[in-house]
């Protein structure tokens, strides 16, 4: 079965609508669709519905031999499969490029960020370890499968219980569920993904794209992050160039979205736990959350055009922030039903086009300065983090802190995310800052 082609009519219309800050389903640029989490009857099985996209994850484990080089570490293997159920043109059993890409991103996000403590999966050093396997299946495809899969797999991992074991000398006994209660995995943090799609060479960006938006986008950025605002993975694909401020801007959007997604996840997990402990062990639990509006704080603007301005006035951030907060609140009131329009921004599009050329020029020059900047930013990092610590208690300055903390940290990360080495440096950095927080 051939894929149903996207007509020029739809393509042009979607792009035009995005220029006017409209989306096909009436969402705002940074809104997520309805999220529904459902845990299966048995442990470690989770289904996430994100709008019409449906993703199912199942965690299983078995005992195996560890690697020679890492004798005390267990395994975490992630497998992604597009079920032919999801669309008529998906062929069964075929490993597509898209599935491989997703599996790699999720592996980086979950395993390489050390979200799951692999050392606790060791049974006997050098001989026996637990091998975890997460099977992700896309059951219905309507875009943004990465965010849904990340949420689904971390939910399934948190929900999973592995059988208890007793080790006596050389002998290992694996207890069945009846003998001993199975034990949860030790999970350090909950990394989640936010995908941002870019249009018109990065001028406009949207979170949670549907499949038709994905078909017309220029490129996308996948940001894996936990609620401590530590970036676990960052990947940009597509045919476009981004300004470094745009990257920063995207990570700021991601921080807000991660907090929302994290709330959804933890509410669902605790609600399920409650349902199970209160004597409803075989009830399928459905947690239904709806995110209707964007939180005011982090999404004051709706296009990338204002990024430059914003980057310049980063220092004067707090004033700006209050102003834009009002703006958005007002918008939310207006946006009672379907759509929101800002007539005043109609001629903005032209302005935007002019700025792109200069943006690209600037990008090229800034790239040369990158290496210097990196050096600087590391210095900045320590000083700014110290500054931020003082405000930790104050909830109102929360967003400001986010920016301050994020800004210096990401720079080394964004330059060469595709390579493995940079990840190590990134994780060591995040570890450092984590240690600081704990120390406090």
């Amino acid at each position: 079965m051939k894929e149903t082609p996207l007509s020029n009519c739809e393509r042009n219309f979607i792009l035009k609508a995005i220029e006017n800050k409209e989306r096909l389903d009436g969402r705002q640029s940074y809104d997520y669709r309805r999220i529904k989490l459902e845990f299966g009857i048995d442990r470690g099985c989770c289904t996430v519905e994100l709008g019409e996209t449906i993703v199912m994850a199942k965690v299983s484990c078995e005992v195996g031999q560890p690697k020679q080089t890492r004798p005390t570490e267990g395994f975490l293997y992630i497998n992604v499969e597009f079920s032919p159920m999801a669309e008529a043109h998906f062929e069964p059993g075929k490993q597509t490029e898209q599935a491989n890409e997703m599996a790699r991103v999720l592996e980086r996000c979950l395993r390489d960020s050390r979200a799951v403590d692999l050392e606790s999966l060791c049974i006997m050093a050098g001989a026996k370890v637990w091998k975890l396997r997460v099977d992700i299946k896309i059951l219905n495809y309507d875009g943004n499968t990465i965010d849904a899969s990340a949420l689904c797999s971390i939910a399934a991992l948190s929900h999973f219980r592995r059988p208890d074991i007793t080790v006596s000398g050389e002998e290992v006994t694996i207890h069945s569920v009846d003998e001993k209660d199975p034990i949860p995995l030790s999970i350090h943090h909950l990394p989640l993904c936010v995908t941002i799609a870019f249009f018109h060479q990065g001028t406009y960006c949207l979170t949670d794209p549907i499949s038709r938006e994905e078909k017309v986008m220029d490129g996308k950025m996948i940001i894996g992050m936990n609620k401590h605002r530590e970036i676990c993975t960052l990947q940009m694909t597509g045919n476009m160039l981004l300004n470094k401020e745009q990257v920063l801007r995207c990570t700021n959007i991601a921080t807000v979205k991660i907090v929302e997604l994290n709330d959804v996840l933890q509410n669902a997990l605790s609600a399920d736990e409650e349902a199970r402990s209160s004597g409803k062990p075989y009830g399928t639990y459905v947690a239904d959350f709806r995110k209707v509006t964007v939180k005011a704080a982090e999404s004051p603007t709706h296009s990338m055009s204002e990024i430059e301005e914003e980057a310049r006035s980063m220092q004067l951030d707090s004033d700006r922030m209050e102003e834009s907060e009002e703006e958005v609140v007002e918008n939310v009131v207006k946006n009672s039903w379907l759509l929101r329009i800002k007539e005043s921004k109609a001629n903005e599009a032209q302005k935007v086009k002019d700025t792109i050329c200069s943006e690209i020029d600037e990008f090229l020059t800034t790239q040369r300065e990158m290496s210097d900047l990196q050096q600087q930013s590391i210095v900045n990092n320590s000083s700014k983090n110290n500054g931020a610590k003082g405000q930790d208690q104050d909830a109102k300055t929360d967003t400001k802190r986010k920016r301050n903390q994020n800004r210096p940290k990401k720079k080394p990360d964004t330059q060469s995310t595709a390579k493995g080495e940079s990840l190590d440096s990134a994780t060591s950095q995040t570890k450092k800052s984590k240690g600081k927080r704990k120390g406090k």
Binding site: M1, T47, E52, S83, M85, A86, D135, K137
Partner: protein, 197 residues
């Protein structure tokens, strides 16, 4: 009897999720769609069936179930309506395997897709303990019955005597009646949404 939900897979032409106390299966139907040249039939549509377990890869047990479903559908679906096309049936299990649950979800999905069928079918598993309260004997018998309670497919394991088999069939017939009632009420709920709105 279970819970049935239509249209769960929005991309498919018809889909149903069927939850019983033993199992939970989603079935999606695409059809009539383009057929692969190698599978094209001149006078009727070819039926493709795929069954996926809740985790891991498909193996011989799934292949067996696929065959059971295909042979059942061959005798029920009016494939002559759509020559040179394919009807694709995909089942995803979300819990333990249960043949009757899978087959009933397939029938519900076909009804949702409005694929022309001679008759509907319902699958019933009868275990020996249902008949004589013996706990030791775990022989099971699976029947697929049409609307006139004629047997379309049967699949059994264990030892069955002739009179036991007859008893099992009457037991299944009784159960099938309630399953058809359930189908009817589910379809009514779906189609009469308009009048109730």
């Amino acid at each position: 009897m279970g819970i049935c939900e239509f249209g769960v897979i929005t991309k498919a032409d018809g889909s149903a999720r069927y939850i019983t106390d033993k199992s939970d299966a989603i079935c999606a139907v695409y059809g009539p769609i383009e057929v692969k040249l190698s599978k094209e039939l001149i006078d009727r549509s070819s039926i493709e069936v795929q069954v996926y377990p809740k985790s891991g890869n498909t193996g011989p047990p799934e292949r067996l179930v696929e065959t059971i479903i295909r042979t059942t559908l061959d005798s029920v679906v009016l494939t002559k309506y759509y020559p040179r096309s394919a009807i694709s049936v995909i089942v995803q299990l979300k819990h333990d395997f249960d043949l009757s649950c899978v087959l009933n979800s397939v029938c519900l999905a076909l009804l949702d897709a409005a694929i022309p069928m001679k008759t509907m079918f319902s699958a019933i598993s009868v275990s020996k303990s249902d008949l004589d309260n013996s706990c030791l004997n775990d022989s099971t018998m699976n029947f697929v019955l049409d609307r006139n309670y004629k047997v379309l497919t049967s699949y059994s394991n264990g030892i069955w005597k002739e009179d036991e088999l007859k008893l099992a069939l009457t037991f299944a017939t009784k159960k099938a009646e309630s399953i058809f009632e359930f189908y009817k009420s589910s379809i009514e709920r779906k189609l009469l949404k308009e009048e109730r709105s």
